[in-house]
Symmetry: C2
Subunit: 195 residues, 2 copies
C-alpha cells in the first residue's frame, strides 16, 4: 500500500473530494458505522485500495468528515442592537446549524467522543466557537453596565446554549424562533439593569 503524499495534486484532490462527499452522505443517512472503506469506495466510484491510501482506518475518515462540519459562521455583533437582540441573533445562527446537518454530525460525535479522544478534541474545536462568541457578547454587556455585574458569563452561556442542545439531541426537536425568544427573554431579562 503506497500512501498518498502530495495534497496539491489535482488528481488527489478530485478523488479525495469524491470520497469525502460519499462518506458524508453515508454518515448522514446511515450513521458512523456505515462509513467504511468498502462502502465509501462503492459510493464514490473509486477503488477500495484508494480509500485505504488516503485513510488507514475508519476513525481517520470520520475525523476528516467531522472537522469539515465545523463551519459555523456567525456575523459580528452589531453595536446598534440591544443585548437581548444580540444574544438572540447568536442563538438563532446556532440553532440553524443544529437544525441542519450539524445536528446529526454533533450527535455522531458525542457518541464517538466518549471513547475516542481524537474525536473528543475535534468536538471541542467544533463547538468552542459558539460559546466563545456568546461569552464575548455577555462579557461586553457586563462591562457596559447593561447586565447585572454579578453575572457569571460562563454559566450564562451554559444556560442559553444547554437547552438548545437538550431539545435537539434528546427530543430531535427543531429549534424554533419562538423557543429562542422565550428562552432569551426568561434567561436574560432578569439580568438587564433596570429594564
Amino acid at each position: 500500500m503506497t500512501r498518498t503524499e502530495n495534497p496539491t495534486n489535482p488528481q488527489v484532490q478530485r478523488t479525495q473530494s469524491l470520497m469525502l462527499d460519499a462518506a458524508r452522505t453515508l454518515l448522514d443517512e446511515h450513521g458512523p458505522e456505515a462509513v467504511t472503506h468498502l462502502r465509501v469506495a462503492e459510493a464514490a466510484g473509486v477503488a477500495r485500495a484508494t480509500v485505504y491510501r488516503h485513510w488507514p482506518n475508519r476513525a481517520a475518515i470520520l475525523l476528516d468528515l467531522l472537522r469539515a462540519g465545523a463551519d459555523l459562521r456567525l456575523t459580528p455583533p452589531r453595536a446598534d442592537l440591544t443585548i437581548t437582540e444580540r444574544v438572540t441573533a447568536a442563538l438563532t445562527a446556532f440553532a440553524s446549524a443544529l437544525n441542519g446537518d450539524g445536528g446529526r454530525t454533533l450527535a455522531a460525535m458525542i457518541g464517538l467522543a466518549e471513547w475516542d479522544e481524537d474525536v473528543f478534541a475535534a468536538l471541542g474545536e467544533m463547538t468552542a466557537f459558539g460559546p466563545m462568541f456568546l461569552n464575548g457578547i455577555i462579557t461586553a454587556g457586563i462591562e457596559d453596565g447593561v447586565l447585572d455585574e454579578n453575572t457569571e458569563p460562563a454559566l450564562l452561556v451554559d444556560r442559553l446554549i444547554g437547552p438548545l442542545y437538550f431539545r435537539r439531541l434528546l427530543y430531535h426537536d427543531l429549534i424554533t424562533d419562538d423557543y429562542i425568544a422565550n428562552l432569551v427573554t426568561t434567561t436574560i431579562e432578569p439580568l438587564v439593569r433596570d429594564g
Copy 2:
C-alpha cells in the same frame, strides 16, 4: 438456531446475566461498536451461538443494555422543603446519574438514536422521568403561588436540565454541587414570588 423462549428458567437467567454484564463492560470500556456477539461471548465465557439465541442482532443487545441503564430513582419531594431545595435535590440526583455510568450510556444512545428509531424510543423512555419529575415540582410551585404564574413549566425544565447535559456531553465535565447551586439560584430565584 433454536431461540431461547423460557425466561423463568434459571439456566437462561444465569447465562443472560453473564452476557449482559459482559456487554455492559464492553460498552463502558470500548463503546457501542465493541458490543458484538463474538466479543460478548468471549467476555462472558459463553458459546457464540448462545448470544445469537438470545439476541438476533447487535441492536437488540444494545437495547436491552440501554433499557437496563434507565434506573434513575428519585425520592418523592418533601413538603417541608422550599421550591429551591426541592429542585436542587432533583437536579442533584439527576447529576449523579449523569456523572456515573449513565453519562456514557446516554452519550452512546444519543449517537445511535439519530439513525435507529428503537434506540430513540428507548432514549425517550430513559430520559422522560427526570423532566417529568421536575415538571411536577414546578407545576406544584406555580399552583401554590410560590413561583411566578407566567412561568412555562416545560421551558423551565429545559433551562434547568439542558445545562447539565451540555456540560456532561460536550465537555465531559463532572457536575458539581456548586454548579447546580449556581444554576438553580440564577434560574429559579427571579421566579420566586416576593423572595
